[in-house]
């Protein structure tokens, strides 16, 4: 039987799931937490508390700053010390709410028990409201507000909900651990989202290198008697967990350029999001915790951890808890080695979408000096979007935006396969990402101009 996988490109890095046998541990609270207002894609949230306010765990401290935005809740109880700019992990300023932690007293109405609530609410609006009010965002990387994604524009019909358990990024094991430790909650979360989307079918995709997770999830589906949820084993190939790749693999459909998954009837959510949805809807628990992996190639396995963290914890605090930054570490990464962000500032704090602190050694991560392109075409072979990175690189360096657009630079998903695979060590993605931003700007400006022109024409008619 042909394995389920996406049709174009892909690479096979060593999966290095070194921390997979480390159970999830709960991190103790630090003395101070700093909650970023940019926890999600879209507009930053607006603080609704003032300096000196006493807050309880789970209380709303910031409200959405726009349509695509989300609520932010206090990750611990205590006093608001300041609302001021603080550097994020890239060293850029962002408003943070500083809370001096005094105990962990939860706000009322939150179910903190371990009992599994299997009865799914019937009211769609109620579910969506709970998801929105509890600040759930996509935890697969993009942190797109979940209530927006689960509420597609009228006229579009969801045919298949895909729960992404691929975890195709090397090293990361947080999704794997929650699938092992909370399979029923994840399946119930999926069932809740199925209900919101009008009872479409649901596929949970897990890469073949996690047989234990596949087994656990299948058992959970069986025990909960949820007939229209299917757990499938996917081929181990990066970027299997890319939204567009997963849709291609599971549904054999391809999302058009610039289109949303819903245009082909698909909605993709991560397993961690599914767990957050379960907690938000069934337990009324806001998204203030998530799982994060401490791992790396220069860390002994006994020093690796899978932690349940609260948002707003300084990364340096978490690193200390895990035994400090290891000797041989040359680069610290938040996220996976293929798409994660290098940490320039370890004093930055965790956000909803944090998934790891990855320590890579110099040997594993330092880039080799770039040499001439030998036109081997391996980048094009590896590109899961079927683009030609060698060409885009050349056009970008020449500043030819028209040709870049014609060669679909805007379709790039920034998965890193081209740079990973280039034998000449050319910084292909660095350059292409830059060009993509430029071309996207041009496309947006053109769309805005067209809209303005249409409106002007309409106004002139009236």
């Amino acid at each position: 039987m042909a394995k389920i996988t996406f049709s174009l490109g892909g690479v096979h890095p060593d999966d290095a799931k070194l921390a997979k046998d480390r159970p999830i541990e709960v991190l103790p609270l630090p003395q101070t937490v700093y909650v970023s207002m940019a926890q999600h894609l879209g507009a930053p949230a607006k603080p609704v508390v003032a300096v000196g306010d006493v807050v309880k765990t789970g209380q709303v401290i910031a409200e959405p700053g726009g349509f695509i935005s989300a609520f932010v809740h206090a990750p611990a109880s205590g006093t608001v010390k300041s609302i001021a700019p603080r550097k994020d992990l890239a060293g850029n300023w962002m408003t943070h709410i500083e809370i001096a932690v005094e105990g962990d007293e939860w706000a009322e109405g939150i179910d903190l028990s371990d009992t599994l609530v299997t009865e799914i609410p019937e009211d769609r609006a109620f579910i969506l409201d709970r998801i929105k009010a509890n600040g759930v965002v996509g935890l697969g990387g993009a942190t797109f507000p979940t209530h927006v994604k689960l509420n597609p524009a009228p006229g579009s019909v969801a045919e298949c909900l895909i729960i992404n358990g691929a975890e195709c990024e090397p090293y990361l094991t947080s999704d794997y651990r929650i699938m092992l430790e909370h399979p029923k909650e994840i399946v119930l979360g999926a069932a809740i989202m199925q209900k919101v989307l009008g009872g479409c079918k649901c596929v949970i995709g897990i890469e073949e290198n996690k047989p234990a997770a596949i087994e656990k999830m299948r058992a959970a589906v069986g025990e909960l008697h949820l007939g229209n949820i299917e757990v499938v084993s996917l081929k181990k190939k990066y970027p299997q967990g890319g939204e567009k790749q997963l849709i291609d693999a599971v549904m054999h459909r391809q999302v058009g350029s610039g289109g949303l998954p819903i245009s082909v009837g698909a909605v993709v959510q991560n397993v961690a999001t599914s767990l957050a949805v379960y907690e938000a809807v069934q337990k009324n628990k806001p998204l203030i915790t998530n799982t994060l992996t401490i791992t790396g190639d220069c860390l002994p396995v006994e020093k690796m951890h899978n932690y349940l963290f609260r948002i707003g914890m300084p990364l340096s605090y978490i690193a200390e808890q895990a035994g400090g930054v290891p000797e041989g570490a040359a680069k610290l990464i938040s996220g996976g080695p293929m798409m994660g962000k290098a940490i320039a500032n370890l004093d930055a704090c965790t956000v909803k979408g944090s998934s790891s602190i990855l320590y890579l050694s110099e040997a594993a991560t330092r880039r080799e000096p770039e040499t001439n392109c030998i036109r081997c075409g391996k980048c094009a072979e590896a590109c899961p979007m079927g683009l030609e990175p060698f060409l885009l690189n050349k056009l970008a360096r020449a500043g030819k935006t028209d040709e870049l657009e014609a060669n679909a630079v805007q379709d790039c998903i920034e998965c890193g396969c081209c740079l990973y695979t280039c034998p000449a060590h050319l910084p292909l993605l660095d350059i292409i990402r830059q060009a993509k931003g430029q071309v996207m700007g041009i496309i947006r400006a053109r769309a805005a101009a067209a809209k303005a022109a249409a409106e002007a024409a309409k106004a002139a008619k009236n």
Binding site: P13, G335, L358, E362, A380
Partner: protein, 331 residues
């Protein structure tokens, strides 16, 4: 904590890289060519080893001198591409070639065909082939004269012209193809096991094929170009052979002789001078196969592979412009 960040690296993603580099790819090509090189030394003796040594050494040295002293840039010999060019050039020359002709070949390959365009990745034509064709045109006596010295370990080397040469010669004298074949005692097993006259690299088909399989297994190259050349050569020769078996040689003969294997497996698949897309590569292969057969059947040269590859090299920019791979979610 901040102090520990001092030495930390920061870069855009991805943060890891595959083990494949230009050097590792070239090393694989060298390894793939070794069986053929060893084979040719066994059949043609120490003279052949001398040719290979002169060819590789002069290519590497030339590249070093040109990069360091003419281009005033860091030397690029460590990427082993000069070694590959040297090996291919050596395997493309008859075992009797004088050392100074080899040296001239190296100057043309590295100096003219490669470095004058800016080095690795910039050259439009395959350097080793350019040199071979240059020598073929400039020194036809040396390049088509096969007087093989004694092979090693008592292996009998073959004297006389290449099978393709015999056929061309015979046809000019009014003989038919089957006559020529039987007169000269040409058999396919001979061709497969290196028992025919020709350049070092043409003689042992099996050793070359072993190298080709190694490159495929190591995923250094994809097979589409080679296969499309073979298919075209087989198809074209089949049509002509069926039409007139007296005048035209059969498909198997054409696949096994005259540098077909060396050319289709190692020269046409050269990254720099072949199209990037699979579609482009197939057209490229068809072009090579067709031109080769036209030269072999109707040209004055008995052998057409080198010319065919060079001619198609010239079309690569066009093929790259016309053929792109399939993009996700687009027609």
């Amino acid at each position: 904590m901040q102090s520990t960040m001092n030495k930390m690296l920061v870069s855009p993603s991805p943060h890891i890289h595959s083990a494949v580099s230009t050097t590792s790819l070239m090393r694989d090509v060298v390894i793939a060519l070794l069986p053929a090189a060893i084979c040719s030394v066994v059949f043609y003796g120490w003279m052949e080893l001398l040719i290979l040594a002169v060819s590789v050494a002069s290519c590497v040295l030339l590249e070093y001198v040109i990069t360091r002293y003419l281009m005033k840039a860091p030397s690029t010999i460590c990427d082993l591409s000069a070694v590959v060019t040297g090996l291919l050039l050596g395997l493309n020359l008859p075992a009797t070639t004088p050392w100074w002709v080899v040296l001239i070949g190296a100057v043309v390959a590295i100096g003219v065909a490669k470095m004058s365009f800016g080095g690795l990745g910039q050259n439009p034509f395959n350097p080793a082939l350019t040199a071979r064709v240059f020598l073929l045109v400039s020194y036809p006596t040396y390049m088509t004269h096969w007087e093989a010295p004694q092979g090693l370990f008592g292996v009998d080397a073959v004297t006389g012209p290449t099978p393709l040469g015999m056929v061309k010669e015979g046809l000019l004298q009014g003989q038919t193809v089957p006559q020529i074949m039987s007169d000269n005692g040409l058999s396919y097993s001979q061709m497969l096991f290196a028992n025919i006259g020709g350049t070092a690299g043409e003689v042992c088909a099996l050793a070359l094929l072993a190298g080709f399989v190694y490159l495929l297994v190591r995923r250094v190259i994809r097979p589409h170009i080679t296969l499309s050349i073979w298919a075209t050569v087989a198809l074209v020769s089949l049509i002509f052979w069926l039409a007139s078996p007296d005048r035209f040689t059969d498909p198997l003969f054409n696949l096994l002789t005259g540098g077909m294997i060396l050319g289709s497996c190692f020269m046409a698949t050269d990254y720099v001078t072949s199209p990037m897309s699979v579609k482009g590569g197939i057209i490229f292969g068809i072009g090579i196969g067709f031109i080769t057969m036209m030269i072999r059947y109707f040209g004055s040269y008995p052998e057409g592979m080198s010319f065919a590859i060079l001619i198609m090299n010239a079309f690569v920019p066009l093929l790259n412009m016309w053929f792109h791979q399939k993009k996700y979610g687009r027609k």
